[in-house]
Homo-oligomer: 341 residues x 2
């Protein structure tokens, strides 16, 4: 965008950084050697963590990469897929890229709507339903029971793509148990609470038949050696993850305090960002976002109404949030005067 | 394979390691942030290096990843593609994965055969021809004039996929000049002479229409932040690259000396490995390979006759090659006695 931002609060990264053990693992991994194309050690550790077998876990180049592979395996021209209008765009991009027919249902009360997703999937005979829990861009969530009930009611032949990128920051009770007998592919990442967005590693858990199919088409050496080493080290550093989650929760509270002082409303969040209701329409929220950007504060916003009345502010450190605090008042004044015009 | 190898001479990595500047760049890249999805700085540097525009360069998750994307963009079920029997298998894997019809022509004199590739492509109306120059697994090469002549004679509508993974170790005169008006996509990697196999980064150069198409389907955040930083630093450390190429040449000579002392023949090589003719058939070469493996020396071999009379030995450091030297005699004795059976 032609300028450097002073506060990087738009990409839902973890400004609190990765585990020092992950950094040591990167430095010591021997980057001249190819990584293990089977990611054996990491998959074994992940399988143990989730009470699954190694054949239930596949590692990929972030959730983006895993979504692309899953769509390639399940979608061909004319196949219907259901998601929510305004949900994670990269999933939709892969569906269109492989010729799928994308059907969307609206959010309901700023949350994705399991009833509407199921109804639409039944109607069009969908191969996939995408649900992010917790959700990006709204930060909202359903409790485990609601997701489990949705899984029970999946139409025959329909797979739930359950994007759990923000599972680490979710409240207790929001993450369903893993049931490998169900047609569900759960996606996790090291980009958020683990603080490793730049290194590109995520994983999927699901039934062995579905997960095993990834091997037929994935880029076998695609997950780098430093990424595998860093993920394994980070997984073993539970203390760092817990400390980060605490800091994220603190940042969410401070964002809420700041925006409420300026008359805006912070939506409840189970993620490492807060959707802030700017109280008007998309044009106004866009003006607020522009006003923040002009003052060196980078945030993003949802793309469709009515979600786009919000801006999305990532958890920052105290300096970042000081900058948000200082920029928000003038940004609102600018946006308000623009609205009057 | 259930054992650790003492000498890792099978994967054509660079045991001589990456530039120290690349390691510094990895350590300092800020891995909590997403990498630049456009890889702007790296692409600009690569474009300058090759006298191309930034729109002529795309960065990907190694040549493997780039081959997959190119095949996805150009091949659909029923489309014909031509390669050589025994050439790089990952290309063929992508072609089959996207439903392409793979046609192969034999090597000629242990080199890929431009005449046969062109003739076959014309016959079947191929969309792609794959040529590795220098070649893996044989280490052989064509000079620039031969490749340029081949490009001039490509059938209408046919794209040459020119895999130049080993360009850095090729003799002067083996790498054709870059002509961006031609339907050629050249692939390069940081996995070989740059010593960064584990970090997964390569690039493709070609006409802007072809290269621009990658943006439609690639995994946009797929190339990690450390990979971009390391590649840029390595590109700027010409001294390290030159020193590595010298060491690789020394290792090739020593491999030749060792195998010739044992009565085998080292094929000329423009790569970071040497194909060693074991003087018999595939079963014998396999037995030699097994004998080396049993003694802790990991090498690989081509998959199809007559190439499979060879084993493929990567450039190693002096300790690795001492181990090869010590293991080869007994391995040959084992293989010979097995042959008598």
């Amino acid at each position: 965008m032609g300028r450097r931002f002073d506060a990087r609060l738009g990409a839902n990264e973890s400004v609190f950084g990765p585990s020092p053990r992950a950094l040591e693992a990167i430095a010591g991994c021997g980057v001249w050697m190819y990584g293990d194309p089977e990611a054996h050690d990491l998959r074994r550790a992940l399988a143990e963590r989730h009470g699954a077998g190694i054949g239930n876990v596949v590692v990929g180049e972030g959730i983006d990469g895993l979504l692309g592979t899953l769509v390639r395996l399940t979608v061909e021209p004319g196949v219907s897929v259901v998601t929510s209008a305004g949900a994670y765009p990269t999933f939709s991009y892969h569906v269109r890229g492989f010729g799928g027919v994308l059907r969307t249902v609206p959010y309901r009360g700023d949350r994705e709507d399991p009833e509407a997703l199921l109804a639409c999937a039944g109607e069009v005979g969908a191969r996939l339903i995408y649900l992010a829990n917790p959700d990006n861009p709204m930060g909202s969530w359903h409790d485990a029971a609601a997701v489990e009930a949705m899984i029970e009611r999946l139409p025959r032949g329909c797979i739930l793509v359950l994007d759990e990128a923000y599972a680490d920051t979710a409240p207790p009770g929001a993450v369903p148990r893993v049931d490998l007998a169900k047609p569900v592919v759960r996606m996790r990442t090291f980009s958020k609470a683990h603080g490793l967005a730049g290194i590109r590693i995520g994983y999927a858990i699901g039934p062995e038949t579905l997960i095993g199919a990834f091997d037929r088409v994935r880029n076998h050496f695609g997950v780098s050696r430093p990424a595998q080493a860093a993920a394994l080290a980070s997984l073993r550093d539970g203390a760092h993850l817990a400390a980060t989650v605490t800091r994220i929760a603190g940042a969410r509270e401070r964002i809420a305090t700041i925006v409420e002082r300026h008359g805006l409303r912070a939506l409840p969040s189970a993620t490492n960002f807060v959707a802030v209701d700017c109280g008007s329409d998309g044009a106004f929220a866009r003006a607020v976002l522009d006003g923040l950007a002009a003052r060196g504060v980078f945030v993003r916003m949802p793309a469709v109404p009515p979600l786009d009345r919000c801006i999305r502010v990532s958890a920052g450190n105290s300096q970042d949030l000081d900058r948000l605090d200082a920029a928000l008042g003038p940004a609102l004044v600018d946006a308000g005067s623009r609205r009057v015009d």
